[in-house]
Symmetry: C2
Subunit: 237 residues, 2 copies
C-alpha cells in the first residue's frame, strides 16, 4: 500500500508531530511505502488564487473551479499543486494529521484541500461521493485537541464530534469519493501526563495496525439521486 | 453601530465581492460606521506560526494558545494580528463574507480565525459561549455557493446546511460569545442569470435592513455546565 500523510503542526517537537512520526514507523514496519507532506516544513501556500494557474482559460474574471478544470485538462497547474496531485494519484491511503483549530483543520491544511482537491480530477458535476474521482482510495483523520472526551456527545458542551467533523469527513473526503476510515482522536493533549501521552501513542499504534478491520463511514450513494441531485425517493425527515 | 466586514474572495469582480460592497453601502446608508478587512487585497497571512509573537513565553517549544495568552497580556502580537484585534474591539457587528469552499470558509479566512480569535481576549478556560470574550457583539455569515437549495436538508445529497455550518457558527463564533444572527445564503451563484443575481442582491439588502428583527441562533449556556464543563443535569440524548 502507498500511504500519504498530510501533516500540519507548527512545532516539530509537538505530540501531534510524534503521532505523524509514529504513523510513518508503523506503516513502514507493515511493508507500506510512506510519503509525508509536512505543510509547515514545506511552507505550503494555502491561499487559492490566480497564481495557481500557469495558463488561464479566462484572464478577465477568475472562477477558481473553472480554472482548475482547464489546468487539469491542459496540465498547467502551479508546480506545488501539481506535485501534491501526483502524491494523491500515487496514494492508496491518505492520513490527515493535525491539531484541531476551531473545530476544523489549521488554515494551512484547509488550503491544501482548497488548492489540491481540484475540480476535473477529484470531482466534477455529479462525479461526487461514490462516483468521486478518488474512489477506491482510503482516507483517515488523526488529530489532537485540547478538549476532553466528556465535552463531546449529545447534550455535551461542544456537541457531537461526528457533527463537528462532518464538513471534513463527508464534505471534503467523502465528497471526492474517498473511503473514510474512523478517525483517531487524541483528547486533552496539552494537559495530560507524559505517561498518558505514551499510552495515547500506543493506542494510535493499535489503531494503525487494525485499519483493515474498521468499517468505513457511510455517505450518500449517487444511485439514490437523479441528475439534478434530487433524491429519487422522498427521504424521511 | 460599528460594523466590520471580513471578506475573502480572489476575484474583485465576483458576485461575492458585490455582496460585500452592497453591505458597505446599506450599512453606511443606515448611519453605521463600516470597516472592511479584504483579506485577499491585504494579502493576509493565514498561517499560525511562531512569527505571530514578538516576544515568546517559551522559545523552546511552541504551544500556540499559550503564546497567544502571553502576547495578549504583554501586547506583543505581530502587527497584522494586533490590527485585526483592534477592529474586533471596535466592532459591534462582524460580517463574514465569503464563498463556500469545501463546506467551510476559504483558508485565508480560516487563518484569520486561527490567528485573530486569540486565547486570552476572545476566550480562555471557561470563558466561552455566553461567557466568551466577545459577548455583547454580533456576527453573521454571508456566503455564496455553487449548490442549489434542494441539495441541502434532511435526506438531501449534502445533508443539512445548519449541520455543515455548525463548526463555524457554533464552534468559532458562538464559542467566543458572539451573538450569531441567521446567515444570508446565495445559492447556485455561478450558474444563475444576471437578473437572478440582481434579485439575490435585493434579498441581501432586505436581510441587512432587518437584522434587528432576526432571532439569533441558540448555543449552550455555561450556566448549565460545571467547572469541568460537565452538564449539571444529565441531558436527554
Amino acid at each position: 500500500m502507498n500511504a500519504l500523510i498530510v501533516h500540519a503542526h507548527n512545532e516539530p517537537k509537538s505530540f501531534n508531530t510524534s503521532m505523524m512520526n509514529l504513523a510513518v514507523e508503523v506503516l513502514q514496519g507493515e511493508g507500506h511505502e510512506v510519503l509525508v507532506s509536512d505543510l509547515y516544513e514545506m511552507k505550503f501556500n494555502p491561499v487559492a488564487s490566480a497564481d495557481d494557474f500557469r495558463d488561464r482559460a479566462n484572464t478577465d474574471h477568475l472562477v477558481y473551479a473553472l480554472e482548475q478544470r482547464h489546468a487539469f485538462a491542459s496540465g498547467t497547474f502551479a508546480p506545488d499543486i501539481a506535485a501534491e496531485l501526483e502524491k494523491i494519484k500515487w496514494a492508496d491511503l491518505v492520513i490527515f494529521n493535525f491539531p484541531i483549530y476551531w473545530y476544523s483543520m489549521p488554515a494551512i491544511m484547509k488550503g491544501w484541500i482548497d488548492r489540491v482537491f481540484v475540480s476535473g480530477y477529484c470531482y466534477g458535476g455529479t462525479r461526487i461521493y461514490d462516483r468521486g474521482g478518488l474512489r477506491g482510495k482510503k482516507a483517515m483523520l488523526a488529530f489532537s485537541l485540547g478538549g476532553q472526551a466528556h465535552m463531546f456527545g449529545p447534550g455535551a458542551v461542544h456537541g457531537e464530534l461526528e457533527v463537528l467533523l462532518q464538513p471534513i469527513q463527508r464534505g471534503m473526503l467523502g465528497y471526492v469519493g474517498l473511503t473514510v476510515l474512523p478517525p483517531f482522536v487524541a483528547f486533552h493533549v496539552p494537559y495530560i501526563s507524559a505517561e498518558a501521552r505514551r499510552d495515547c501513542l500506543e493506542q494510535y499504534r493499535a489503531h494503525l495496525l487494525t485499519l483493515e478491520q474498521r468499517a468505513p463511514l457511510a455517505f450518500p450513494s449517487l444511485d439514490d439521486f437523479d441528475d439534478r441531485l434530487q433524491p429519487k425517493v422522498v427521504a424521511a425527515s
